[in-house]
């Protein structure tokens, strides 16, 4: 049965527990960083950072909104990264049948740097990164080793507020939709004068991001572009995958 992570960003306190726990589990190296005037460090995903908490601050009509986006691979149901990689090295990137988890394998070493760049470019969420030393393309694997052992992914395990949940995709979709319904009901609920002074509803715009196509589902309460350039996608991966799959077909036929 397909597995999913549901991330309710309205419960995230940007503690970075997930960011650090992920590194710990994968035995990653620490990446040299500098303070550049933000809490977001490293500034972007790296071959040693599969999970990154992104910070963005805004001030609207005197109200401060500090938005946290714990970024990671979306484990698309039809991953563009795989469709692109398959053109060059079949099954360098695979989808685990049992769970739907999208995994970059060691075979990604056989891809050239340009091919890796193309794969990264095809990802609507700008996720995979190339390890310059090993030559591998790497990204979040939803802790497939833990999941196969009946455990939850490390980021979910470390999340102390319950912002992150893990389970069957159907259940996570229900949870996400329930959250959306609740949030909208709360915005629409008639409020006392005092409550109106406290609530910041007028700026809110609650959404679930692209849930039809993704294994990792985010709930946001502000417009998506305020969180991160690649929070939601601009191009539907379905179309793009089809397009790329279409390109790949004659090449595969040639190989027989």
């Amino acid at each position: 049965m397909a597995k999913s992570i549901f991330i309710d960003t309205t419960r995230c306190t940007a503690c970075r527990g997930c960011q650090v726990a992920c590194k710990q589990w994968h035995d990653h190296e620490a990446v040299p960083t500098k303070q550049t005037g933000t809490h977001q460090n490293p500034p972007d995903l790296t071959p040693n950072n599969f999970k990154l908490v992104r910070f963005s601050e805004h001030k609207i009509d005197g109200h401060v909104h500090w938005l946290f986006f714990p970024d990671q691979c979306r484990h698309c149901l039809q991953p563009a990264c795989k469709a692109t990689a398959d053109m060059y090295v079949e099954d360098a990137i695979v989808v685990d049948e049992a769970t739907g988890i999208v995994v970059c394998t060691e075979k990604t070493k056989e891809l050239t740097k340009d091919q890796c760049d193309e794969i990264i470019d095809s990802c609507p969420y700008n996720i995979p990164r190339r390890n310059e030393i090993s030559g591998e393309l790497v990204k979040c694997d939803m802790c497939i080793d833990r999941v196969q052992a009946g455990l939850v992914p490390m980021c979910v395990k470390s999340c102390c507020t319950g912002a992150m949940s893990f389970g069957e995709r159907e259940d996570m979709l229900i949870k996400a939709k329930l959250r959306l319904t609740e949030a909208q009901a709360e915005i629409e609920r008639p409020k006392s004068e005092l409550e109106t002074k406290i609530a910041c509803d007028v700026h809110k715009s609650c959404t679930i991001l692209d849930e039809e196509d993704l294994g990792v589902i985010y709930f946001l309460e502000m417009p998506r572009e305020m969180y991160h350039q690649y929070a939601g996608r601009e191009i539907k991966p379905l179309n793009r995958a089809d397009f790329l799959a279409g390109l790949a077909k004659p090449f595969k036929n040639m190989l027989g």
Binding site: T10, R11, T13, A14, C15, R16, G17, Q19, V20, K23, Q24, E29, A30, V31, P32, T33, K34, Q35, T36, G37, T38, H39, N41, P42, E57, H58, K59, V64, H65, W66, L67, F68, C160, T161, G162, L194, E195, K197, I198, A199
Partner: protein
């Protein structure tokens, strides 16, 4: 905390003030969010908008150092709008008590102040008493000399205009907070206050907390589910540390340290054992002799006898009036009066105020023993980049300490839960636990005393001393044992049996206990209750999230303190939907009651606030040294020229170190017009020794920064990411500018006051990350605790022309 972490979910309103709970107690926010799920309003009052504010319903920016003005305004609002929980206030607090004629308050001073000593004689703060010595009361609260009326008078000056002007909080925001929070004054509503170092680290720190307590008493929020005054304690087991008396001025279990003014045990017990003549007051500190004697018996074993006052004469005595707190220890060290010592798990060369002075003081030592997990700025003070090691005579012994996960032991969380943790790993290399270090050092020093005699060998040799450190045995001894066969009621305990609970502790030497609060945590052999992980609850307990069988809480596994105040004098819960205790079939069910007596209104009933000698919650609080009612004073360094509340600018009793390195900026000093507040981070602990050496954490927060508003940045020509220099009258610090919408300028007393904030965890032993922020902060402290005023001082800021402390 009077409550525990889970109970926060039961609140109808959460006031987070003097705390950045989401960042420094991340797991606590799970419970705050659950309260929010249930409809609670979460309000964060704090100088900057932080990760806590992002998850709160409302953030109210407040100038650092003005909490008393803010809360005083709330008291005035509550009283004027008659929002007190009437029955609770009249019956359970000292609102009705009548003050003697001598008590006055005039222009910032209470009666009894001696300007020569900077101290109060508290005689005039006493209540008027009847012939039995019981305080006189007017439960109608009308008598002009009753506490309620004097309270009203005291906070009359805290009107919206004055409070807004001094705090920089808009009147609109003041009213939003006051109205939202005081709605919890209804008997079936509860509000919780979560606070931490944003309240304590001020020269008026204790009074900040007192005022929070007073508001909770006025609103009937103590003893009830979802209420309480909740101190969020520090990660390095601060709760356990204070319980077991890491601080100089107390003995384990919160007894005063003996002084030369009390040469005998009889003197000590007489001065420190309160007495009441009211039969309904349990006056629990009246039991102090049993706890002190049991402590002495635990320390000196068979060497403690009734004839020698259980060894009291062997204890070192402090000189009355001398302050032995760290700030003054370092002062004496700076003057060359201290030859050597031990610093364990502490990095004063980064975490103490006026760090230039601290680093200078360390150079005067002949020897220093440091117990640490990593090398720190303190252990390596002699090779500080600005020093020449050849000129420093100190011999430093660095003892490698193992990590918490490498040893058995306990931590006590903020909710007083005493929790066992199991050793998961063998200690790396030659590192050892500090328990092991202290036992070994003690053994060898004792052997030297035995061999060489020397001055006063019995001081150490009379102590019982373990052959080796064993955490389980320590837990047993903290609980305590019987020293001979004892029969209590109809049960006979044998010599060596563990004491079941502290009501069984005696003042005759028949019991030991190294901390009465924890007596009952290990009541029998094999029953270390700190190890319990049982989630069983009755339905009533489950509603509260009480989890009474999960670990063990002091005292006597009571999870919500003062819970007799959660029912009315007849025993009916003020909130029938969420009772904490219920009187059923002649006993209380639910939580462990704060005294098992019948409801207060019955003949044998008792008052709820058992730790106060008169059994009532203190609205008028004569216990603190700087006044019975909190009063607004400015921080030692203030950006304004005049205090609008009185002609006393600062706390008249404030502690101040006075060496040549202890300079203070004058009020409204034009050279230093900006307020600096300092704080911790989620990603780094305290002085940073542990976390700067944890690569994944340093990756997430790599270097010293300073948060400032866009307005201040524009004024100074500073852009986000620029290297800047922050300077106070005591020193300067390089930092990376973090220009943010989350900090706003304050309008204070007719002018713009800017505030900036800096973390204090960075130190030079980690190359290129910056060095101690505390080189900026002053050596001034709260007069009750001497906790330094880290949260407000004066600085200026400019772009750096050269960069020496940071790699850019």
């Amino acid at each position: 905390m009077t409550q525990h972490w889970i109970d926060i979910k039961n609140a109808n309103a959460v006031l987070i003030m003097g705390s950045n709970a989401a960042e420094h107690h991340p797991i606590s926010f799970k419970w705050v969010l659950k309260a929010k799920d249930a409809g609670a309003k979460v309000i964060h009052v704090d100088p900057k908008f932080s990760r806590t504010s992002a998850r709160s319903d409302l953030h109210v920016p407040l100038r650092s150092g003005t909490d008393i003005a803010f809360l005083g305004g709330m008291v005035k609002y509550i009283l004027e709008n008659d929002l007190i929980q009437k029955e609770y206030v009249a019956e359970y607090t000292n609102a009705a008590f009548i003050l003697g004629d001598g008590y006055t308050f005039e222009d910032g001073l209470f009666s009894g102040f001696d300007p020569a000593t900077g101290k109060y004689d508290k005689t005039t703060w006493a209540f008027a008493k009847d012939e039995k010595g019981v305080p006189l009361r007017d439960k109608t609260l009308q008598n002009p000399r009753c506490v309620y009326q004097l309270l009203k008078k005291h906070y009359d000056r805290y009107n919206l205009d004055r409070v807004s002007s001094i705090t920089g909080v808009s009147k609109e925001n003041l009213l939003i907070v006051y109205e939202t929070y005081s709605a919890t004054g209804k008997p079936d509503k509860a509000g919780t206050m979560m606070y931490a170092l944003g309240w304590t680290q001020h020269s008026v720190g204790c009074q900040n907390i007192r005022l929070g307590c007073m508001i909770q008493l006025l609103l009937g929020n103590i003893g009830v589910a979802g209420g309480g005054v909740n101190a969020l304690r520090g990660e390095p087991n601060v709760q356990g540390s204070t319980d077991h008396a890491l601080l100089w001025h107390i003995l384990p279990g919160y007894h005063a340290v003996p002084t030369t003014a009390w040469p005998t045990l009889t003197d000590y017990l007489k001065a420190n054992t309160p007495v009441t003549n009211d039969p309904k007051s349990l006056n629990w500190w009246g039991n102090r002799p049993k706890y002190v004697v049991s402590l002495l018996k635990g320390w000196f074993g068979d060497n403690a006898t009734a004839e020698n006052e259980f060894g009291y004469g062997l204890l070192p005595k402090a000189e009355p009036g001398v302050d032995y707190a760290s700030m003054f220890q370092f002062d004496r060290m700076y003057e060359g009066k201290i030859k050597g010592g031990m610093i364990f798990g502490h990095n004063p060369a980064v975490s103490m105020p006026n760090t230039h002075k601290i680093r200078a003081a360390l150079k005067n030592l002949d020897w220093l023993v440091v117990g640490e997990v990593h090398d720190t700025e303190t252990a390596s003070f002699w090779r500080n980049p600005s020093e020449d090691p050849k000129k420093i005579k100190t011999e430093v012994f660095l003892l490698p300490s193992c990590q918490r996960g490498e040893k058995d032991g306990t931590t006590s969380n903020s909710g007083r839960w005493h929790q066992w943790h199991h050793k998961g790993y063998e200690p790396a290399g030659e590192s050892r636990s500090m328990g092991w270090m202290l036992v070994e050092i003690g053994k060898r020093v004792r052997a030297l005393y035995e061999k060489e005699k020397g001055a006063f060998p019995e001081g150490l040799l009379s102590h019982t001393w373990p052959k080796e450190y064993n955490a389980d045995e320590m837990a047993r001894m903290i609980n305590g044992v019987f020293t001979r066969d004892v029969t209590i009621k109809d049960k006979t305990y044998k010599k060596g049996d563990q004491v079941p609970s502290f009501p069984s502790l005696q003042a005759d030497g028949s019991t030991t206990s190294l901390n009465w609060l924890y007596c009952g945590c290990y009541p029998e052999a094999g029953k270390n209750l700190a190890k319990r992980r049982d989630l069983t609850q009755t339905p009533m307990q489950a509603k509260l999230g009480l989890f009474p069988s999960y670990t063990w809480a002091w005292p006597v596994n009571r999870r919500i303190l003062y819970n007799r105040a959660s029912v009315d004098p007849k025993g009916n819960p003020f909130n029938p939907e969420l009772p904490v205790i219920l009187w059923e079939g002649g006993k209380w069910i639910g939580d462990i009651p704060d005294g098992g007596a019948p409801p207060m209104a019955e003949e044998k009933g008792t008052y709820p606030f058992i730790m106060q000698s008169e059994g009532h919650g203190h609205l008028f609080g004569p216990g603190r040294v700087d006044g019975p009612f909190p009063e607004h004073y400015e921080p030692a360094e203030t950006p304004i020229a005049k205090n609008p509340f009185s002609s006393r600018m600062n706390n008249p009793c404030m502690k101040v170190a006075k060496s040549d390195m202890d300079l203070l900026a004058k009020p409204a000093d034009p050279k230093y017009p900006i307020v600096l507040t300092t704080y911790s981070l989620t990603e780094h602990w305290c002085g940073g020794g542990d976390t700067r050496n944890t690569p994944y954490l340093l990756e997430a927060e790599p270097q010293q920064y300073v948060e400032m508003s866009h307005e201040l940045a524009a004024e100074k020509g500073i852009k986000n990411g620029d290297v800047v220099v922050v300077e106070s009258i005591r020193g300067k610090v390089e930092a990376i500018a973090m220009v943010t919408v989350r900090i706003v300028p304050f309008q204070v007393e007719g002018k713009t006051v800017h505030l900036i904030g800096m973390p204090f965890c960075f130190g030079w032993t980690t190359p290129g990350v910056g060095d101690a922020t505390n080189r900026l902060t002053p050596s001034v402290g709260d007069p009750n605790t001497t906790i330094p005023e880290y949260k407000a001082c004066l600085v200026n800021i400019r772009k750096a022309d050269k960069v020496t402390e940071l790699s850019v």
